[in-house]
Assembly symmetry: C2
Homo-oligomer: 210 residues x 2
Amino acid sequence: MPETARPSKREETRRETERAILIAAEKVFAEAGFGGATMQLIADMAGLPKANLHYYFPTKEALYRRVVEDIFEIWLRAAEALDTADCPVRGIGAYIDAKMEISRRHPFGSKVWASEVMHGAPVIQDYLETTLREWTEGRAQAIRRWIADGRMRPVDPHHLLYMLWATTQHYADFGHQIETLNDGRPLSDEEWAAATESVKEIILRGIGAI
Amino acid sequence: MPETARPSKREETRRETERAILIAAEKVFAEAGFGGATMQLIADMAGLPKANLHYYFPTKEALYRRVVEDIFEIWLRAAEALDTADCPVRGIGAYIDAKMEISRRHPFGSKVWASEVMHGAPVIQDYLETTLREWTEGRAQAIRRWIADGRMRPVDPHHLLYMLWATTQHYADFGHQIETLNDGRPLSDEEWAAATESVKEIILRGIGAI
DNA sequence: CCATAACCTGACCAACCGGTCAATGAATAT
DNA sequence: ATATTCATTGACCGGTTGGTCAGGTTATGG
């Protein structure tokens, strides 16, 4: 019988409370921006007194940083889809699938990320200069390989990546606009699938991979 | 000799001051968000005492609304490029040119717009439901016509428009990220041209217009 | 030149926000 | 049982913010 460290009641409560705070914070930061968000509102949404927030996260900035870091990790994890395949159709196709899924499941996170970058990345500038830059260069190399192998047309890898990011994240960041243009209704399952197919079709055909 | 209403000194000063305020406000709102922006900072950047701001714009919200409306107008005006041509290559090509130019010339405005929509369009929701919806439907019809005429492949017009918006605005809204990945340097003239060409090439080919 | 209206501004205020802290309650180890 | 550590909370505080206002300045029309 394995001695799996059973979580003490304290640990468990702590994890649950922290989770509740992070979920509330993600939503409030996304909807109001860093400057517009208030610790009181986050506390109310998490069902806690404000002082308790400062026990878990010393400052508003620390809480915000944690939210952004969590998003960044989800965002990077989805990028693995690009590596598992050896042809652009499967690789980029899977990447678009993954990113569209994130836009659907984590719209608040995507908005917080967008807001952070739009404001000059005051909190995650170091991530941009290290992790993101390395990741981007690696993926650009993979794309150049595909081009050299004649599996797609010669397009600038960076601009292709920007297009992938822009197009997929648009469905989260501008979701409100899309919903308004969709007669005020959120996209249904079928409409999400159609959106994903449209994006894949146009881009994969546009780079000559189909 | 035409009696062109020569502007009185008052009118002229008023227009100049208002312009200075709007330029400062656009920048501050873009960099700090609505919540993070302060009237004091806008006043300092415009070289005015704060109280003077409230003489021109009664509230922070009124000033913000004006900034967003001005952007919306620029944004709509660029859309005329889509109408002047009768084939997708020239129409969509010109539209991409125009939108990329706006991303370059009005990055702050684009960010304010993005931020407004991301936060649920509290100020310009009515514009989304009226002007933008009508414009979108009209353009979707034009695209359907092109498809019916066999000038491009059958793609969902809405998703194509979203891709156009997303891709072009990305160069403004995520300009900081792009700059970081470009070794910290802003895109040069040639790089902007290359970006525009990349976007046009992939999308026009992706919809089968080339 | 004068009266009037438009414009400008320093000083001020109430409201709110992030953060602190001392006191209390609850879980854990001995 | 009880000492000790961890977790919770209401009350509070200094600083900042959007907005006001009375009084001064400048342009304009007669």
